[in-house]
Amino acid sequence: MTDTVQPGPADVHSHEGESRRDFLTLTAGAMAGIGVICTAWPFIDSMQPAQDTLAAGAPIDVDISKVAPGQQIVVLWRSHPVFIAHRTADELKTLQDPKETAQLRDPNSEVLQQPDYAKNWHRSVKPEILVVVGICTHLGCIPEFQPQPGSEGPGWLGGYFCPCHGSRYDLAARVFQGVPAPYNLPVPPHHYLNDTTIRIGEDPPNSTFDLNDVEQI
């Protein structure tokens, strides 16, 4: 089918008419484009976490009175496992041993994986109690708590061992060199309501630290 009428003689269209028409179609097209983008935005935004999901990420209070020295408990916060480990005095000593720290990638916690109140040699508020997010910074498996010296080979002073690809962390959850994981385990915002209760997910009054600020969970 090739029969179509072509519009009339050229003199019907003044140059002004043509450019006005082009202006109109250009404006219409631009507005339609803006309209499409403005319409697409709510759909894309609807996939963000909903209000109830965000609310479910509220802080949790954990009673640590029953966690004996040398033990660890695991709680869930924002669907992340959080390790709360009670370190013994001997274990704390190993954290400052230069032979040990020499093997670490980031012994002084230079990389932002913890709030300022946990940027110290024990990476916590109270030295005995370690609070870290138990997700290996390599590819997301949950590392095993292996506090016994020697349990992961000679020279193992205690720490975390990830079974998926062999990454190792010390008892302050600092990552060793020579393993696939790049960063120390992150420390979540937390503070003590009293001696036996930690609130995970909330900073102490003078700090504003969000877990999303860290280099990598």
Partner: protein, 255 residues
């Protein structure tokens, strides 16, 4: 074109669900609502007073399972106020490490604590009648806010000769006029925190405003967005019409 308009009007007339309103029924009251109309908004003070009424009176029998305490921030309450409001109610938590459920104060993330654990308990407490959940009541009744206001202010003595069933109350606007709910509100049923005089019409107005918000918390956002969208569409359609006329000018034989 006129035929089109006629057909459209007739279509719209029957398109709305016809709730066969008996001719002898009194018309619903029509108080002025702040949220009526295309520019309607929720009066925050009324919402807070309405919530107080729900909290102190209605929540003893009626659940609002679709609302969470965190939603109350839309009423203008602060985070601390909401934590305090929630903490006044006990809800089930757990299981603890012994595997037992326990009672704990509610938190902002929790849904409004229901007065009864399940429907059967609610019916048992009310001679078999179930106080309906109020989360959507304004949208779930023909007449909407006017109907709810009518129910609350419509309690009166039955006209002479009207036979009341046992345990029922006469209400002017309830279908069939016999409602199982005893009159919930009278003058001074509550003392408002902001000092507003708690007459029955005031209370009914405020709690209905609160219930209207509860049924659709996003109403204001909806109308606001609507204004912007319609403005945009009107302009764009105007431009499209002008473009259409221009493009068709040579076919229609005029410049």
């Amino acid at each position: 074109m006129r035929r089109l308009a006629l057909a459209a009007a007739a279509a719209l007339a029957f398109a709305m669900p016809a709730f066969a309103q008996d001719e002898s029924e009194p018309p619903l009251p029509h108080p002025s609502w702040s949220f009526d109309g295309i520019f309607g908004t929720f009066d925050r003070a009324a919402l807070q007073r309405g919530f107080e009424i729900y909290d102190q009176v209605c929540s003893n029998c009626h659940s609002m399972n679709l609302l969470h305490y965190r939603d109350l921030s839309a009423l203008g309450y602060s985070e601390d106020q909401i934590k305090a409001i929630a903490a006044q109610k006990q809800t089930t938590g757990g299981p603890n490490d012994q595997g037992e459920m326990f009672q704990r104060p509610a938190q902002p993330a929790d849904a409004f604590v229901a007065p009864y654990p399940n429907e059967q308990a609610a019916r048992a407490a009310h001679n078999g009648a179930l106080p309906p959940d109020l989360s959507l009541i304004v949208k779930a009744r023909a007449g909407g806010a006017d109907y709810v206001y009518g129910i609350l202010t419509g309690f009166e003595n039955p006209p002479s000769g009207f036979k009341m069933n046992d345990g029922m109350q006469y209400d002017e606007f309830f279908p069939g006029h016999q409602i199982a709910m005893p009159q919930p509100l009278t003058d001074d049923s509550v003392t408002f925190a902001d000092g507003t005089k708690a007459t029955l019409p005031q209370e009914a107005h405020d709690v209905t405003t609160f219930l209207a918000w509860a049924a659709e918390p996003k109403m204001e956002e909806r109308k606001e967005t609507g204004a912007k969208v319609l403005l945009f569409l009107l302009v764009m359609t105007g431009v499209l019409y002008a473009a259409k006329r221009k493009i068709w000018a040579d076919i229609h034989g005029h410049a």
